[in-house]
Every structure is written in structure tokens, then in C-alpha cells.
Subunit: 247 residues, 2 copies
């Protein structure tokens, strides 16, 4: 999927924490957005895991992935209820203490009157020792970053705002560019030519995605991806030649 | 997330194979459907991984997950083009040979005239040795099952038809039942009572999911999950009492 000899690759994994996604009750809306935004800024999303609200599963996923990728993002499980165990799980993954963080408590007080800042709501101020806070422009309760792990809310609007807060501070590589060419035929008719073309451009990622149009006819989207603009234009021209006989 | 003492638990993991989902170009439509259907029939989906079109990543994910769960489902990468490497990757994961399977070739001939069954299209008949085919009611090119791994297409309509073909032959546990109670307030107001309630029902999974209504007001969905219908009714009644003051 990714060229091996790029000077400066920045990679990421995403851990979605949530029983509700695994049970099918909630349809995830975060993966697509995070994938798009990371790709745009030059961070390659390499793996996504959806895990249940179980501490040992969260710890195992985060520890496996933070060793392999530049960054690990998590979504979900940072609210005030008993099933919100992400912050404690991350503290355990890093082997650091966790407690109510005065900075986070102060942020909550900007949004929640002090007489309503009960023990449950204070859970949202529990932050692993050594973490930096990630501001929440929507409802104040912060996310955080510890090492290369960035912990965000699960509610899409809040997650999106946290992602924009954190992105400027992250390392980036050259963004992957892509171009899509539509073939008015099924994959089987162009596969041989496509394979030959892909063989001649080992540094370009070429994907083939079949679909049916409104009339049920077989069509294919051919997607070329590379960080090199000139190379992308060259491959795009060849892909257009390849599909021309089926126009 | 899951009770430990259930007599007969049947578990599953799902591996989504696709660069196009990780790049954000394609929004996954399979996770939600598979999660819902497995939950309905009594198979607990415990983990989902999205991995790129890279053989070693597919092999690693499938081998890690098939050792831990009753079943592993995969979607994507079984078409005719050079980037369709799922069947070969699964063969490698199991350490078995792979070649064009006469049964699969025959199925393709029901759909594709012999003079159009070129080398590329024949790739769709490559099946690891020892696998059983999974029929494709939409476009014939089959999925397959080897050991506890079930390999399905990525196109949602085809995947859904393959899933229905394979489900009747799988082991099932008692289906997880769930009931949702809506609280007309934010999580922080009910978290303490909810935590106390959850503590008294250790065998019921109780989740709390905040949302904003159309007017921007904070609301919460409380979801109780258990395989025991009577217990579910009892907990539901208690949850309704808990939220009554905010009605």
C-alpha cells in the first residue's frame, strides 16, 4: 500500500472504543472523517481497531499500535459514566498514575456551575500524569495527549473539533495525492492491462473498485495514489488510455 | 462488556481489507450491518480491524484473531485485479496451497461466457486448498470458508448475500437482548445513580450514550444488554425510575 522509500513517512492508527459500535446499535461516523483528514494533511492511517469497553482490550490495542505507528488516535469513553474507562486504561497502558487534573477541572468549571460539578462529572477531569490537554470547543471536557497517543471524544462533533485542535502540532509527511479514473466496464476487462501498468509504476498505488451504475451495468473506479504530482499526472494519462476503448 | 459465566458464548472478529477505507476515499458500509446481524443471531462481535491491502498485514490480523475468537469474517479483496490479494493472504495464513478451484471456475461460467473468462477473471476462482465455497447470489464469484475464517466480498450487496448464506451453518449462542431508555438530561446528572445500579447488576451490560436533541439540549440513551429476558425487564424498570425525575 505504501511506498517504502519515502524520505519522511508519518503514520497513524485509530482505536475506536465502544461496545455500541460492536453491537451494531451505533453506526460509527468517526472513521471516515479521521481517515480523510489525516490523508489530507500527510499522515497515513495504517490500521483501525474497534474494541469493546474492556480495560485489558484497550490497553492491549493501544500498546500494540503505539509501538508501530507515529501516532495513535482513540475515540470514545471519556464521559462521566461508569462505562467511560478510556482515561484509566490509557494511564495503565503507559504505567502512570491518574487523578483529577486541576487544569481539566478548571475547564469544566467554565461550562458547568460549581454546584453541579459532582463526582461523576469530575471523572471527565481525570487525566493521566504527564499528559497535555486537548481543548474541547464544544463542551469543554478535554481530551488529552500522552506520548504519541491522542485521546478524543466519541461524539462526532466534539471529536472533529479536538482533531482540528491537535493536527497543527503533529508531524506530517508529504500528503498522498490521488486521482480517480472511471471505466465504463467491469474489472475483468481491464485487469490484465491494469496489472501490467501497475507493474511499470511500482511507486504508485493503484486500486480498482467495482460498482454498478443505476442501470445495473458494471463499472470500475481506478484510483492512482502517490505523493509525486508529476508521476500522478503521468499515470492518470495512462489510465485514461486504458479505459478509452470502453468509453 | 460480556458476562464471563455464560454457558455457551460464540464470538467473532471482523477484518476489513481495504486501502480505500483507510484513505477515507470509501466510507465503510459493512461494519454496521455485520455487527447488527451477528448480534441478532447470537454471535458476539468482539473486535474489528481495518487493514491495508498488504499481505503481511492481512496474515498477521487473521492469525491473531482466529486464535482468539470462534469466527473471523473478512470483507474485501476477492475481485479480479492485481490489488485483490485476500485469497492468497488467507492461504498463506493457513499455510496451504492455492490455485484455481474447479468448483469456483464452474460457478463463474454460469455468469461469464467462456470466451470472456480471461486470466484476470479466473483469479476470482483462486481458493485455498481445503476451503468450502460460499455462494454469491449476486454475481457468482464465490467467497469461501477455511477453518473458522469466512472470506466475503467487499461490495455491500454481495457481502450481505454471502453473510446470509453462511449464517445458518454457524454455531450461535443465546442472542444478546437490549433495551434503550431515554433520559431527558445529560449524563452527569444520572451517572451516580447509574453507577450504583450497574454495580447491583454485574451480569447486565449498561451503557450510557449522550446526545444533543434538535434544540441543543443534553439527552442520554441508557442501554441495558443481557441474554436474560426477565433480568432485562427488571433493569429496564429500574432505569425508567432513575430517569423519571427528569421527564
Amino acid at each position: 500500500m505504501f511506498e517504502a522509500d519515502d524520505a519522511h513517512l508519518v503514520t497513524a492508527a485509530l482505536v475506536i472504543i465502544g461496545d455500541e459500535v460492536l453491537s451494531g446499535r451505533t453506526k460509527d461516523k468517526n472513521i471516515g472523517h479521521i481517515a480523510e483528514r489525516l490523508t489530507e494533511v500527510g499522515i497515513d492511517l495504517r490500521e483501525v481497531r474497534i474494541v469493546p469497553d474492556v480495560e485489558e482490550d484497550i490497553v492491549a490495542a493501544v500498546n500494540a499500535l503505539r509501538a508501530r505507528f507515529t501516532y495513535v488516535f482513540t475515540t470514545g469513553g471519556i464521559g462521566p459514566t461508569h462505562d467511560d474507562i478510556t482515561a484509566d486504561s490509557i494511564a495503565r497502558a503507559f504505567g502512570v498514575p491518574i487523578d483529577v487534573d486541576p487544569r481539566a477541572r478548571k475547564l469544566l468549571l467554565e461550562y458547568i456551575p460549581e454546584d453541579r460539578l459532582n463526582e461523576a462529572r469530575l471523572r471527565m477531569a481525570r487525566i493521566p500524569q504527564g499528559a497535555e490537554l486537548v481543548a474541547n470547543a464544544v463542551s469543554k471536557a478535554p481530551g488529552f495527549r500522552i506520548g504519541n497517543v491522542i485521546v478524543m471524544a466519541g461524539v462526532p462533533r466534539i471529536m472533529q473539533s479536538m482533531l482540528e485542535v491537535v493536527l497543527p502540532d503533529l508531524e506530517k509527511g508529504r500528503p498522498m495525492l490521488s486521482h480517480t479514473v472511471k471505466a465504463n466496464t467491469g474489472e475483468g476487462d481491464i485487469a490484465a492491462g491494469l496489472s501490467e501498468l501497475a507493474g511499470r509504476y511500482p511507486k504508485v498505488l493503484i486500486g480498482s473498485y467495482p460498482f454498478r451504475d443505476e442501470d445495473g451495468g458494471f463499472k470500475t473506479h481506478l484510483v492512482a495514489r502517490t505523493r509525486d504530482k508529476a508521476l500522478l499526472e503521468q499515470v492518470t494519462a495512462e489510465l485514461e488510455q486504458l479505459v478509452a476503448p470502453f468509453a
